[in-house]
Amino acid sequence: MAGAATQVSLESAPRIMRLVAECSRSRARAGELRLPHGTVATPVFMPVGTQATMKGITTEQLDALGCRICLGNTYHLGLRPGPELIQKANGLHGFMNWPHNLLTDSGGFQMVSLVSLSEVTEEGVRFRSPYDGNETLLSPEKSVQIQNALEMTKRDVPGFAIGGLSGGESKAQFWRMVALSTSRLPKDKPRYLMGVGYATDLVVCVALGCDMFDCVFPTRTARFGSALVPTGNLQLRKKVFEKDFGPIDPECTCPTCQNHSRAFLHALLHSDNTAALHHLTVHNIAYQLQLMSAVRTSIVEKRFPDFVRDFMGTMYGDPTLCPTWATDALASVGITLG
């Protein structure tokens, strides 16, 4: 066991997170982030707008869906159009005319990337710290060997990003790394899990104690004609939807579902009118936001474990048919399925 690290004062970092409710079984939390461009309820899914645009939908449409924070990549924007132009345009907010919050990978919101994934071995995961280049072998059993991580948890930052876990690692390793990270991170600061966006992963990682998520998946899959639904996804280009006159999801309140049928979207997807892609982008973002909202409500109303069971039941037909990694992950925080 490592020697007790010296207590560094944590007072000076701004307290951006307020915990509103906590699940009594799992590590799930509901909270509020107080950010420069308004309050954001957590857990939150942040759509990704890489090049100062949310892929074919206007900022007004994004606002109308209830989105209050999304991602911008300063790496890309640093190349095109370049930092000087962004500055002249009154920052990224001014340039793309987004009145709410933006999370970027540098500047603005000071986030620290915890580790970068180097190598997955049988023993565990070998991490390389971005700060001193030291390698650490991080295995579930050897929780004591996360000196670097420990050091970072004591740093004076407003929150933590858990990164490098949406690559090719197995789901079994994935959830264990997330669980390990959240067990070590202070409770009163937001945990942002980078690159996680599939519905099941979101629900499980909320249970494991994460608050913020981003992923290109929902918007990208929309542009391939795939609509997200509680039972998985609908590949609307397929012939089976040709005469399906119902909406994508009868429970969904987004404009696409309010105004259009699967059959129409099917026909439009086979045309060269880009509107088809925008309809699906709107819906998929709505789906993710509505999911997070439902998760949050269940935490506040102290029924998160039931919510999880219902969710898995709908997604997999029966809670017991949930993938093993997810069942294990949930069990590790006290939620049993079926």
Binding site: Q51, A52, T53, M54, K55, G56, I57, T58, T59, E60, Q61, A64, R80, P81, L85, K88, A89, F95, M96, N97, E242, K243, F245, P255, T256, N259, H260, S261, A263, F264, A267, L268, H270, S271, D272, N273, T274, A275, A276, L277, H278, H279, V282
Partner: protein, 415 residues
């Protein structure tokens, strides 16, 4: 449906068409245009973004070329194409072809005509054509016709005569089938005037079509490039002179602002709005001025701007754009040009569209350079609104007898 003319000035008809639609309570202004769509949707636009546009016309143009292949689906749907595409409240006009995509010639016979969709050619006899219209249930539809004579450069008299004969035969057969169908009687057939560039045949087509109980007339075969229109304008005047005053005259394939004005002066009422779409596809924004009586200060500023733009257009040659292989006109600016990279002005100063109220030229430039989908969305919103504003100004100019000023202003800007 009833067309009432408020006034006719120099051949231009100003008025309203009332009692339109299944509920008989819609009204349309003339001169006016129809909302251009592809597969039942405004290009790039969803319900929300379309709703953001001011002045969207009351009537939407659908194309049979994009919908014919969905015949079975629409038949099973039963409730008509308006509801299917999510525009249950709009007036719908169904044309045969998409004005943007030229139709390959050689496919009209005495018994059938063809349209070209995503999955290829759809051949239609009169019965199949009417069956499709029965499934679509539009408010107006262009009758099956033979318009191929204008696909080629030279028109033989024989071919022109055939186009008139066939179109009249199709019309009579369609009218017959309409009489036998309760559903079809709720739609209005638009008779098609053909005849190529042969005056005799054009007049014959106009007179004969006018004898039939059609709801309006489509002047087909006047499209082409700007020079071909010039020669065809004389024909156009002669044709419209043969048509009854109390029925609307539509024209296909004409959408440029200068050509629109020429056609209005020759008795045309309704136009397609595909020009703003073509402008959008080449990454351009409509900027032409249609404010024929601005305050003097504005005039000076606009003039300076216009001259700047005209200078630049001289340097621009034909650009390759997918689907719209057309030259950039002097009615627009090319947002891909480097000079817009740091231009934080709106596309058009004073424009009240969503794009101009929320975004800058620099942002649109960025979206185009990075190939982002939002470029098309924002440009389409601006271009449609600008274009609909132009039509509004035509009506206002006619009302106050100022069309000459508007015409002069537009001509000054046409290269």
């Amino acid at each position: 449906m009833k067309l009432s003319l408020t006034k006719v000035v120099n051949g231009c008809r100003l008025g309203k068409i009332k009692n339109l639609g299944k509920t008989r309570d819609h009204t349309m202004d003339i001169p006016g245009c129809l909302l251009y769509t592809k597969t039942g949707s405004a290009p790039h636009l969803t319900h929300h973004t379309l709703r953001n546009i001011h002045g969207v016309p009351a009537m939407v143009q659908l194309t049979l070329s994009s919908l014919a292949e969905h015949h079975e689906v629409l038949t099973e749907y039963k409730d008509g194409v308006g509801k299917f595409i999510g525009m249950p409240e709009s007036l719908l006009y169904c044309s045969l072809h998409d004005p943007v995509s030229p139709c390959p010639a050689g496919y009209v016979t005495n018994k059938s005509a063809s349209v070209w969709g995503v999955s290829g050619r759809v051949e239609m006899t009169v019965s199949k054509f009417m069956a499709i219209q029965q499934a679509l249930q539009p408010d107006w539809f262009q009758c099956l016709s033979d318009g191929e004579v204008s696909c080629k450069e030279a028109t033989s008299i024989k071919r022109a005569r055939k186009s008139v004969d066939r179109s009249l035969l199709f019309l009579d057969n369609c009218l017959q089938l309409q009489e036998e169908s309760e559903v079809l009687q709720k739609s209005v057939i638009i008779g098609v005037i053909e005849g190529g560039d042969v005056m005799e045949e054009r007049l014959r087509s106009a007179r004969e079509t006018a004898k039939r109980p059609v709801g309006g007339f489509l002047l087909d075969g006047f499209q082409g490039n700007p020079t071909t229109l010039e020669t065809r304008l004389r024909l156009l005047s002669s044709v419209t002179a043969e048509l009854p005053e109390d029925k609307p005259r539509l024209i296909s394939g004409i959408s440029r602002p200068d050509e629109v004005l020429e056609c209005i002066e020759r008795g045309v009422d309704l136009f397609e709005s595909f020009f703003p779409y073509q402008v959008t596809e080449r990454g351009c924004a409509l900027t032409f001025n249609f404010d024929y009586q601005p305050d003097p200060e504005e005039t000076l500023l606009q003039q300076n701007g216009t001259q700047e733009e005209i200078k630049c257009v001289d340097h621009i040659k034909k650009i390759e754009t997918t689907g719209c292989n057309q030259e950039i006109t002097s009615f627009e600016i090319n947002l891909k040009e480097k000079k817009y990279q740091e231009d934080f002005n709106p596309l058009v100063r004073g424009c009240s569209c969503y794009c101009c109220k929320n975004h800058t030229r620099a942002y649109i430039h960025h979206l185009l350079v990075t190939n982002e989908l939002l470029a098309g969305v924002l440009l389409m919103m601006h271009n449609f609104e600008h274009y609909f504003g132009f039509f509004h100004s035509i009506r206002e100019a006619l009302k106050s007898d100022k069309l000459a000023q508007l015409k002069e202003l537009i001509h000054r800007q046409a290269s």
